[in-house]
C-alpha cells in the first residue's frame, strides 16, 4: 500500500517497550499489597506499548482492544478472548503520522491510538472495538482497517434513545454482530452458559471496584486518587480473574488501612471519561488540597452495579446498558445535565467541581457549559482545566488549582 504508510518508511515503532511481563502475568498475582499493585500498575502505564497485552499474546491468548467508553467486554471473555481497555498511548508516545490521516483539531487519544496502530504498536490485538461515543471514535474505526490491517474492527452502535422498548432488541442484535467479529478474531462460539458465567465474574469485578470507590468517600479516605485510579485502570489491562483477586486483596487491606488526616476540600472530578489524564495531574489534584470523592474516570466498570436477571444472557447485558441512569457526555442524558450534576453533588457531599476535559473533546466541552450553569444557580464553585495526553508542564494548572482550593477554604 502506498500513501501514509510510505510517508515515513513505516513501521518504525513510535515507542520502545520498556516493561516486559511474564506470560502468566504472575507479577500481578504476587503483588500482595496496594502499594505493590500500584507500583506495578504505574510501571505498566508508563509503557505505551501495552505490556499486558503483549505478554498475553505471547502466551497465545486472543487479545481484543476496547476503545473507551463502554464495550460489553463480557462477550469477549465468554468467547475465550481477553478484552483490554485501549486508552491511547499516554504521555510517552510521540505522534508523527496520525495527524496526517485524522486531522489537526482532534483529541490526543484518537491520534495516539492510530499512531500506535500505524507503527506496529497494536500487534498484540486481534480485534479492536470502537463504540460510537463521538464522531471521532466512529470515524477512526472507519479508517482503521485500511491503515492498520490484519485485525478485526467493529463500530458498535450503542443506543441513544432510552425511552423506546425497541432499543433492547436492537442492542441485542448489535451485540450479536460484535460476537461475529470476535468469532472472526479467533474467539470460541458464544454460548449461553459461558456468557452467564462471564457476567458473574464481571459482576464481582464491579463490586470490587465499588468497594474501591467507597474508600474515597468516607471522612478519612483510605486511598489516594491515583491509587484508586491505577487499581481501577488495571481492571481493563489484565485478565478479569486476576483483577478480581487483586481487588479482594485490596479490600482486605482497606479494612485497616489509614491515611494521614488531610485538610482538604471534597470535589467531584468531571470530564475525563475517555482520554485519560496523566498520573502526575491526578496527583497534583490532591497535592493542592482537593479530595476527589467521585470522578468520571474509567466509567466502563461502573455503568451498572450488576447485570439484572431475566432473559437470555445477551438480553440481560443489553438491558443493563439501556436501563442505566448514568449521565455521561457520550450518551443522551436520562434527566437534564443540571439535575445530573447537582444530584451527584448531593450524593457525595462535594463542595466544588473540577472539570478536567480533554482538549478538543466536544461532548465534554458542551456538557461543561450546562453543568456550569446549574452550578452557578446554586453558587457551587468550580474550575475548568483542559489536558492532553502529552501534557508535561503543570505550573499553570497548579496555580489555578491552588487558587480554587483557597477560594473555597477561606470563603
Amino acid at each position: 500500500m502506498g500513501g501514509l504508510l510510505s510517508l515515513g518508511n513505516l513501521p518504525e515503532p513510535a515507542a520502545t517497550p520498556s516493561v516486559e511481563l511474564s506470560e502468566d502475568l504472575g507479577e500481578f498475582a504476587r503483588a500482595a499489597t496496594i502499594e505493590e499493585m500500584v507500583r506495578l500498575g504505574r510501571e505498566v502505564l508508563s509503557d505505551p506499548t501495552y505490556p499486558t497485552a503483549r505478554a498475553l499474546a505471547r502466551a497465545g491468548r486472543g487479545v481484543v482492544g476496547c476503545f473507551p467508553v463502554y464495550t460489553p467486554q463480557e462477550i469477549a471473555h465468554a468467547m475465550g478472548l481477553v478484552p483490554v481497555a485501549l486508552h491511547g498511548g499516554g504521555e510517552n508516545l510521540e505522534i508523527n503520522h496520525a495527524d496526517a490521516a485524522l486531522g489537526s483539531f482532534l483529541c490526543s487519544i484518537s491520534k495516539s491510538t492510530l499512531e500506535l496502530g500505524l507503527t506496529g504498536g497494536l500487534e498484540a490485538f486481534r480485534a479492536v472495538v470502537f463504540p460510537y461515543i463521538c464522531d471521532v471514535s466512529r470515524n477512526l474505526e472507519g479508517i482503521f482497517p485500511r491503515l492498520v490491517p490484519g485485525r478485526e474492527t467493529f463500530m458498535l452502535h450503542l443506543p441513544q434513545n432510552f425511552h423506546t422498548p425497541a432499543a433492547l432488541p436492537f442492542l441485542v442484535h448489535e451485540y450479536s454482530r460484535l460476537a461475529e467479529r470476535f468469532r472472526a478474531a479467533g474467539g470460541s462460539p458464544l454460548t449461553e452458559e459461558a456468557l452467564a458465567s462471564s457476567i458473574e465474574l464481571f459482576d464481582l469485578q464491579r463490586a470490587g471496584i465499588r468497594r474501591l470507590l467507597s474508600a474515597k468517600q468516607g471522612e478519612r479516605p483510605s486511598l489516594s486518587l491515583s491509587e484508586s485510579y491505577v487499581l481501577r485502570r488495571l481492571g481493563g489491562l489484565v485478565p478479569r480473574e486476576l483483577h478480581v483477586a487483586m481487588l479482594e486483596r485490596a479490600a482486605s487491606e482497606l479494612e485497616h488501612r489509614a491515611r494521614p488526616a488531610r485538610d482538604a476540600i471534597k470535589v467531584l472530578l468531571v470530564g475525563p471519561f475517555c482520554e485519560q489524564p496523566t498520573l502526575e495531574l491526578l496527583d497534583l489534584l490532591e497535592q493542592v488540597g482537593c479530595e476527589v470523592v467521585d470522578d468520571d474516570l474509567l466509567q466502563a466498570h461502573r455503568w451498572y452495579p450488576s447485570v439484572p436477571p431475566g432473559g437470555s444472557a445477551l438480553e440481560r447485558l443489553a438491558r443493563a446498558y439501556v436501563d442505566s441512569r448514568m449521565d455521561i457526555g457520550v450518551r443522551a442524558t436520562p434527566t437534564t445535565k443540571g439535575e445530573a450534576i447537582l444530584s451527584r453533588l448531593d450524593a457525595t457531599g462535594a463542595k466544588g467541581v473540577v472539570f478536567l476535559t480533554a482538549k478538543f473533546c466536544e461532548p465534554a466541552l458542551e456538557d461543561v457549559v450546562l453543568y456550569r450553569q446549574a452550578l452557578d444557580r446554586r453558587k457551587v464553585p468550580y474550575l475548568h482545566l483542559e489536558f492532553e495526553e502529552r501534557s508535561t508542564a503543570y505550573e499553570q494548572a497548579r496555580l489555578q488549582l491552588e487558587t480554587f482550593v483557597e477560594s473555597i477554604m477561606f470563603d
Binding site: D99, A100, A101, G103, F105, N139, L140, H157, Q373
Partner: protein, 422 residues
C-alpha cells in the same frame, strides 16, 4: 465594448424562485413567533419533516439558519455570544451560532426565529446533534424526542436497523398526537410522501445533469442554494414544483449554451461543508481556473436520494427509516470514500477537492486518510483545504488561494480538459 445581454428569464427562474421560497419561509417563521402555530426544531440529516409537519408544526432547521447567518456575514456575533456563555473555540460553529442566536432573541437579518415547542433530534450521522438538542431542551424545557438512527456500516441497512427506527417513528407519532391533540392521518402522510418523492426525483435529475460535458450545473456552490427546498420544504407541492422549474432551467442552459463556467477546464468533485462566511470568495477561486464541481457530497447531507434512498408512499414509515439511515454523514468511511470515487468515475471528474471544517469532526475526522486513499489507491488528484463553515476567523484567503492555484497549475498538464491560465 458591447454590453452583455441580460440573461433570458428561463436562465434565472430557479434562483429567483428559490429566493422567493426562502423569503416566504422565513416570513412565515417570523409570523409563527406570535404563537399561531407550534414550532418543532429539527436537524437536516435524516429529518422527519413529513411526519412532524403533518401535525401542524412549523419547522425550524437551526443548521440552515446558521448557514444563512454565515453566508450573510451575521454568524460571528452569535458565535461570540456562545463563547461568552462558555462554549469553547473547538465547539461546532453551527451549535455556537444557534445557541448564541437563542441568547440574542433569535434575531437574524432574514427575520426572527421562533423558539421551539418541540425538539426532534434525528441522530443521524453527527454526535453533536445529541449535545446540541440537550442544550436546547435544558434552555427551553420543552419535550425532546431522540430518534436514534443506527450508523450505516454496510451498503444496505439491516432489517433490524429499519425495525428499530420504524418503532421509534411510531412512538414519535404517538407523542405528536399527545402534544397536538390531533389524530395521525396516515392517508395524509402517504400523500405528503408522494409530493416528497416527486421533489426528490426532480432533485436527482438536477444532480445527474452534472454528468454532461460541459456541466450545465454547479453541483456544489449552486446546489447549496437549490438544496433548501429538498431539506426544508420537502412534502409540500412547492418543493416538487421547484425542481421541475430547476430542470427546465438546466435544459434552457444547454439549449442556449449558457453554462455555470463558460469555459469548463476542470471538472471536480467536492467533499465537505462550504466555508459559508467566505462563500463567494471560495467559489471565485474555482471559477478563475474554469473549475466546475460536477458532483459533491455536501448537498447529500439531507439524504442520499441519488443513491436510491427515496421516500416511498407505499411503505411510508419504512422508507422514512431507510432514508434517515442513509444520510451521507451517517455512512461509514469505506462507504463514503467509495461514493466519492464513484462520483469521480460517473461524472468524469479530473480531481477531488476536500474542504475540511475545523469545528466539524463528523465530516472532517479522517479526511486526511480519504485524500491519501484517493491519491494512492485510486490515482485521483486530490486537494485538501481547511477553514470553517461558520466562523469567519478561520478562513485564510491568501493561503487557500495559493494552495488552489498550485493544485490547478499542477493538474493542468495531466488533464485533457485543461488549458490556459486564469
Amino acid at each position: 465594448m458591447a454590453e452583455r445581454p441580460a440573461p433570458s428569464p428561463a436562465l434565472t427562474q430557479a434562483r429567483d424562485r428559490q429566493r422567493e421560497l426562502t423569503d416566504a419561509y422565513y416570513q412565515e417563521l417570523a409570523r409563527t413567533d406570535s404563537g399561531r402555530k407550534p414550532v418543532a426544531y429539527m436537524l437536516v440529516g435524516g429529518n422527519l419533516a413529513e411526519i412532524v409537519r403533518s401535525f401542524g408544526y412549523e419547522l425550524v432547521f437551526p443548521e440552515i439558519v446558521a448557514l444563512n447567518c454565515a453566508i450573510k456575514h451575521a454568524s460571528l456575533p452569535n458565535i461570540l455570544n456562545a463563547e461568552a456563555q462558555g462554549y469553547g473555540l473547538d465547539v461546532c460553529g453551527y451549535v455556537k451560532n444557534d445557541l448564541g442566536l437563542q441568547e440574542l432573541g433569535g434575531l437574524t437579518p432574514f427575520g426572527k426565529i421562533p423558539p421551539p415547542d418541540l425538539l426532534v433530534c434525528s441522530f443521524s450521522g453527527c454526535y453533536v446533534y445529541v449535545k446540541w438538542w440537550e442544550a436546547l431542551a435544558e434552555r427551553y424545557g420543552v419535550p425532546l424526542f431522540m430518534l436514534d438512527v443506527p450508523y450505516l456500516r454496510e451498503p444496505t441497512p439491516r432489517k433490524e436497523e429499519i425495525a428499530y427506527v420504524t418503532a421509534q417513528l411510531e412512538e414519535l407519532i404517538a407523542l405528536l398526537e399527545r402534544t397536538t391533540g390531533r389524530s395521525f392521518d396516515r392517508a395524509e402522510l402517504v400523500r405528503t410522501l408522494g409530493a416528497s418523492r416527486r421533489a426528490e426525483e426532480g432533485w436527482v435529475d438536477y444532480l445527474h445533469a452534472g454528468r454532461q460535458r460541459p456541466s450545465p450545473i454547479e453541483a456544489y456552490f449552486e446546489a447549496v442554494f437549490y438544496m433548501f427546498p429538498i431539506n426544508v420544504l420537502r412534502g409540500t407541492p412547492e418543493a416538487a414544483e421547484f425542481y421541475a422549474l430547476v430542470n427546465e432551467e438546466v435544459a434552457a442552459r444547454v439549449r442556449e449554451g449558457q453554462y455555470p463556467v463558460p469555459e469548463e477546464k476542470f471538472r471536480v468533485v467536492v467533499e465537505g461543508v462550504p466555508p459559508y462566511p467566505s462563500y463567494r470568495t471560495f467559489w471565485d477561486f474555482f471559477r478563475r481556473w474554469g473549475a466546475v464541481s460536477v458532483a459533491a457530497t455536501y448537498p447529500k447531507v439531507g439524504g442520499l436520494f441519488d443513491q436510491g434512498f427515496l421516500h416511498d408512499p407505499s411503505r411510508p414509515l419504512e422508507s422514512i427509516a431507510e432514508y434517515s439511515v442513509g444520510a451521507y454523514v451517517n455512512e461509514a468511511w469505506p462507504l463514503r470514500r467509495e461514493l466519492i470515487a464513484s462520483y469521480v468515475r460517473d461524472y468524469a471528474a479530473d480531481a477531488v477537492v476536500i474542504h475540511g471544517i475545523k469545528s466539524c469532526r463528523s465530516f472532517t475526522a479522517g479526511q486526511g486518510d480519504l485524500r491519501d486513499w484517493l491519491l494512492h489507491e485510486r490515482g485521483i488528484p486530490t486537494l485538501y483545504l481547511e477553514s470553517d463553515h461558520e466562523d469567519p476567523r478561520y478562513f485564510a484567503p491568501a493561503q487557500i488561494k495559493n494552495r488552489m492555484d498550485a493544485f490547478f497549475e499542477s493538474l493542468k498538464p495531466a488533464s485533457p480538459a485543461a488549458g490556459g491560465t486564469p
